[in-house]
Amino acid sequence: MIWQLEFIILLLVVVCAFAALKVRDLLGAAVLFSIYSFLMCLLWAIMGAVDVAFTEASVGAGVSTVFFVAAVFRTTRRSRD
């Protein structure tokens, strides 16, 4: 694997993590967290842990995002924090 590409993905993971913490819109945070999970899934796949990548893609990027969106739908979209 090209290390520059890995580095860019790792950098994006960190950026997404901070952005998900900082953003005021909780729906946006959920989407950012989904992106974070998907990039983590790419990293797992690069490292050869395909089973982990599969779990991350289905649980992290898929279902948990739906759960976050459902929770935002039932509560409030703006974060007061």
Partner: protein, 278 residues
């Protein structure tokens, strides 16, 4: 307080990063795990269990005890969310707010408590308080892909022996298919197809299949979760019995995970009322 928290996080984060410098390098062949444990699995797993995917063999056979409790953890987490979110007493306000829409004219009726529909339910349809218009494209597209997603989920469960996948992933994908159905249609339609009671029973069933397999091995004279003991029952040699035993517990895991995912979605999307939602 916030600054103190940030300071603590930075301090312990730095400590954790410092701790990773003691780790063996990624893919280091001389690390303890690679010198003692991994070679055994790589050399013996196919011979022992007839499963080409070593990850599945380790997860469900050699480390089957861990996976059993992982399933129990998922079961407990689902149970905890159910107790936290589910509202067992329906408040009068939501009970009264049965909104019905006349199909032909689009007039919405609000049926109060103890009220009944004037013309029967065929002319009227129950709608959510935040009503979203019927969308043909979304419903048709989702209905079209749903069978394929479910088929793929079953494939992931059944083909975990040969390719990445297994009970957890397959169960999540199957649950995601049902959640997609709930999103594209509405929660009430999904609750009719997959009642809440059924998800709760299936959650327990999945864990019971796993534990039951272990107990069955025990009863047949083997050790707990030693699938080779099932050889006589399945009519195959002990090596294939371990392969089949893995499949049986994977199916148990898949059922439990699928049911927990759907139950979690129901509770989150309807805020525990099970009447209307996302």
């Amino acid at each position: 307080m916030k600054r103190l928290g940030l300071l603590a996080v930075i301090l312990f984060g730095a400590l954790l990063v410092y701790g990773t410098t003691d780790f063996p390098d990624w893919g280091d062949p001389s690390s303890p795990a690679a010198t003692h444990l991994s070679p055994y699995y790589i050399q013996h797993s196919l011979h022992d269990t007839a499963v080409p995917n070593i990850v599945t063999a380790v997860l469900a056979d050699y480390r089957g005890y861990d996976t059993m409790f992982e399933t129990a953890v998922i079961f407990t987490a689902g149970l905890a969310c159910l107790f936290l979110l589910r509202v067992f007493i329906t408040p009068k306000e939501t009970e009264a707010s049965g909104l019905y829409r006349h199909r032909a004219t689009g007039i919405t009726l609000r049926i109060g408590q103890g009220g009944r529909l004037p013309l029967g339910t065929r002319e009227f349809e129950r709608i959510d308080s935040q009503w979203v218009p019927y969308d043909l494209i979304i419903r048709t597209a989702c209905s079209l892909v749903l069978p394929f997603i479910q088929l793929f989920a079953l494939y992931v469960v059944a083909h975990g022996h040969h390719s990445p996948g297994g009970g957890f992933q397959g169960g999540v994908i199957f649950g995601a298919a049902l959640i997609l159905f709930a999103i594209s249609h509405n929660l009430r339609t999904t609750l009719k197809a997959m009642p809440e009671k059924r998800t709760n029973i299936l959650t327990g069933t999945g864990v019971l299949i796993y534990v039951g397999t272990g107990v069955l091995c025990l009863l047949l004279g083997g050790q707990f979760l030693d699938y080779a003991a099932l050889a006589g029952l399945l009519g195959v040699d002990p090596v294939m019995a371990r392969s089949h035993g893995i499949l049986i517990v994977e199916i148990g895991v898949a059922i439990a995970v699928m049911a927990v995912m759907v139950s979690l979605y129901y509770n989150l999307a309807s805020a525990g009322h099970m009447d209307e939602g996302l």
